[in-house]
């Protein structure tokens, strides 16, 4: 491994890190072909039925005629997903992946909680337990990985200024945010870190932040992310691009979490969804481009805290509901079809007379990926999702 300037800097400051951290800065023991996992949280409750629309369901129009886009094949229409479902046209990149067999939507999923509060539901979605925990299930995944101790910044990486609950916990996790403008030089950073070294909150944060930034700077080379059409990328695409490049590095972390907002469409939903969906699509495309060949070893899980009411509300929007859609994409994914059991939309089939009835537990989807992609065994899965047992979904990945 060539000694890079940043690595040398880290070596110099290692004296105040010794004894406090088992972190090694040597090249990792595991190989470059480790699997990668990215989890994208869509905060605000995505209306799954607006994005993967069951246009083949005869009852659909009776609930939300004014929210519907034209059927596949018509101008401005949905993109077909096998004759019953249509994908929102803003998700062109995702549709290409579907056609290539690398994307699968899973319909009528929900977490294991039944709350229509964003805040409760997000907490349960991220902690993955039956009771409130202050650690997230993805952090427990990181602790379960066999090669955890060898990474420059542990195995987890939160993209954005703060670490979401999903990735919080005892396992070491980095966070990354793009730097702008002037900042202290390496020597001053080192003195700031030393000044904080013994502090229970700020000590580890500065220590890991500097390591992660030094590492990220090396990997990213300060380059701005590119979009193929030359347009300026949105914030989500910038972070997704950086996540892809960091995960692609043979010495980088293997698990990352991203989040995107704009889904709480209580009013004028039809128009309002276009922009956040286009950003999501552009971000996922940027992630795939930046991962390069590592895309073939990456699974991306896109999930939201709950769905929205089947019936359009009084203001051209939808209110908080239950069942919704999740996406899996990536090289190893067995895609090209919509998964899940469609519960139907007759009044007696709705959940509490208003919501899409959930038929698949999100934890079962996540467990299937963790087992078949990251190799977690039954005991590890029980640690990751300590609540009532779920049966992992089979066949999500190519055999």
């Amino acid at each position: 491994m060539p000694i890079r300037r940043r690595s040398a800097f880290l070596g110099l400051t290692a004296s105040w890190m010794l004894g406090r951290s088992s972190l090694a800065l040597a090249a990792p023991a595991a190989g470059a072909d480790d699997p990668r996992l990215v989890v994208v949280i869509l905060r605000g409750a995505l209306d799954g039925m607006a994005v993967v629309t069951p246009y083949g369901d005869a009852d659909l129009a009776s609930w939300r005629r004014d929210l519907l886009l034209p059927e596949p094949g018509q101008a401005g229409g949905m993109r077909d997903l096998g004759g019953f479902y249509g994908l929102h046209p803003a998700l062109a990149g995702l549709h290409d992946l579907y056609a290539a067999g690398q994307m699968t939507p899973i319909h009528a999923v929900a977490g294991h909680y039944r709350s229509r509060s964003h805040f409760d539901a997000q907490d349960y979605l991220e902690s993955g337990a039956d009771e409130r925990l202050d650690t997230g299930w993805l952090n427990r995944v990181v602790s379960s990985l066999p090669w955890v101790a060898s990474r420059v910044d542990g195995n987890g990486l939160a993209m954005g200024l703060t670490v979401p609950l999903l990735l919080r916990g005892p396992a070491r996790v980095g966070s990354f945010a793009p730097v702008a403008g002037q900042h202290p030089d390496d020597d001053l950073y080192a003195r700031i870190a030393a000044l904080n070294a013994a502090d229970p909150v700020t000590g580890a944060a500065f220590r890991n932040g500097l390591k992660a930034r030094g590492f990220s700077d090396d990997v990213l080379g300060g380059g701005a992310p590119r979009a193929p059409d030359g347009r300026r990328p949105g914030a989500f695409a910038v972070l997704a691009d950086a996540a892809g490049r960091i995960l692609a590095d043979p010495h980088g972390p293997r698990v990352a979490a991203l989040e995107a907002g704009g889904w709480d469409t209580h009013a004028a939903q039809k128009g309002r969804l276009n922009a956040p969906l286009a950003q999501l699509d552009a971000g996922l495309a940027a992630l795939r481009r930046a991962l390069g060949p590592a895309w073939g070893r990456t699974v991306v899980l896109v999930m939201t805290e709950f769905g929205r009411t089947v019936r359009m509300n009084g203001t051209g929007g939808t209110d908080h509901g239950t069942g919704t859609v999740a996406f899996l994409l990536g090289g190893p994914v067995a895609g090209g079809r919509v998964r899940g059991t469609w519960p139907g939309l007759r009044p007696d089939q709705l959940f509490e007379n208003r919501d899409l009835a959930p038929t698949t537990d999100l934890r079962a989807v996540a467990s299937g990926v963790l087992r078949d992609h990251l190799g977690l065994n039954r005991a590890a899965l029980k640690r990751v999702f300590p609540g009532s047992p779920v049966t992992p979904e089979n066949g999500l990945l190519q055999a």
Partner: protein
């Protein structure tokens, strides 16, 4: 209580070497008794903001040309108040309640009214009864726009039957969950729907000469409604009664007491303190001034360093420590103190009046102490220090932190090669991250 703790724990940090109060608790209580001294002259009210918004929309003007200068003036005035206030406890309460009743500019076209909202609905009610504050908030155009109530229509109202439109639950749900009783009260989905029906017709008249709150009988759901076992009459009065009921509910007192103790005492509010403050609220019919005074008297209040500074706390304290500000900030001047502070909030992850969701910004350490958060603080401190080229870092450290300043930090500042580095070390020190 230490003299400096009154300034850091209950306020926004010491400004330069302003005198410390001889009687910290008395000084804090006096701020609650005195009227709000913040003067916001020359700013328009929410009607002015809505007129600007209306004109922009009517003439399809690109780029917010009429709202933008109003907003710039608002930022300059309100952030100057934060930097200069001599009633920092009262000022902290105002921002606390503004965050409790979050109106975010991410949604609803609220930029024109976000500042007036704080001056009209929040500031006058910081020491009023909670139900008065609640009512002022729920009738304010900013909240009605932000949480979509302007378009919620009773399905059986005249407008609902004619236009086949109906309820939007957003405001009702967040009012129950976040503003008042909280889910601990055990309300149901039926209560949310019913409360939304109670609030139908509460809207904003954008066509009026002076746009503002309006009750629209034609959009109001007819009939009595039941909320949490109580029956409320049809009409605007039903909404007022329901808000009085929620605003004086024991579950609401417990909820807001928890939030207040969380803001001033600890990230894990001690149940004994919460019970005490909730009891004061109960005994005084929700007197927020009395509750704030009860906070001052808690045995653990003002213990220095227990609360981690949010980005807003941190940036404000750093600029106050440097004594930046004085002459009123010129709106839009990129070097004006208020503008620097505004930029600081954004680069540290807490942009002004732009919380991601209606639950507002967290005030807990776990949410603001990720690696990238702290690096952003060090970087911003370095940029800020460039605005104080003549400052003596050690003098500022002693003045700002008092007895909380640690020998290690003094040593690090002493060994700094440049004043700018010394200030960066001060603002990046563990003790400056706390209040």
């Amino acid at each position: 209580m230490q003299r400096s703790a009154a300034l850091t724990g209950f306020g926004w940090g010491r400004r330069g070497n302003a005198p410390l109060p001889d009687d910290p608790r008395g000084w804090l209580r006096a701020q609650l008794a005195a009227p709000d001294a913040a003067i916001f002259s020359g700013l328009g009210d929410s009607a002015d903001g809505l007129v600007a918004l209306r004109r922009q929309r009517r003439d399809r003007m690109p780029g917010d040309p009429l709202v933008k200068p109003l907003f710039a003036a608002e930022v300059a005035a309100q952030l100057d108040a934060l930097l200069l206030t001599e009633q920092p406890f009262r000022e902290r309460l105002a921002w606390f309640w503004c965050n409790h009743f979050t109106v975010s500019m991410r949604q609803g076209g609220t930029r024109a009214v976000a500042g007036p909202y704080m001056r009209e609905a929040i500031r006058p009610n910081v020491t009023a009864r909670f139900s008065d504050l609640l009512l002022a908030v729920m009738r304010h155009p900013a909240m009605l726009l932000y949480l979509d109530n302007i378009s919620s229509i009773g399905p059986n109202s005249r407008a609902g039957l004619r236009r086949h439109r109906g309820l939007n639950e957003n405001l009702a749900r967040e009012c129950l969950e976040l503003h008042t009783v909280s889910p601990l009260a055990g309300y149901s989905q039926a209560d949310v729907t019913s409360f939304a029906a109670i609030l139908t017709g509460w809207g904003v008249d954008m066509k009026a000469d002076r746009p503002g709150f309006v009750f629209r009988p034609a959009a109001h759901e007819p009939g009595e409604k039941t909320l949490m076992g109580r029956v409320f009459p049809e009409g605007e009065e039903g909404g007022v009664q329901a808000l009085r009921f929620l605003g004086t509910h024991p579950a609401t007192y417990r909820h807001i007491a928890t939030r207040m103790v969380g803001q001033f005492v600890s990230d894990t509010p001690p149940p004994r303190d919460v019970a005490h403050v909730a009891g004061v609220l109960h005994d005084t019919q929700g007197d927020l001034g009395a509750a704030a005074a009860a906070l001052v008297d808690l045995p653990d209040a003002g213990r220095p360093g227990v609360k981690f500074r949010t980005p807003m706390d941190f940036a404000t304290a750093a600029m106050r420590a440097l004594g930046l500000g004085g002459a009123p900030s010129a709106p839009g001047d990129p070097h004006a103190p208020a503008h620097i502070l505004f930029g600081g909030f954004a680069s540290l992850g807490q942009p002004l009046w732009t919380a991601p969701l209606p639950n507002g910004w967290s005030d807990r350490a776990a949410d603001w102490s990720a690696p990238a958060d702290l690096l952003a603080r060090a970087d911003w401190s370095y940029r800020l220090a460039a605005f104080a080229p003549d400052a003596d870092p050690l003098d500022i450290a002693h003045a700002a932190l008092g007895p909380a300043l640690r020998p290690a930090t003094i040593e690090a500042i002493r060994h700094a090669g440049a004043r700018r580095d010394g200030l960066t070390l001060l603002f990046s020190s563990p003790e400056f991250q706390r209040r």
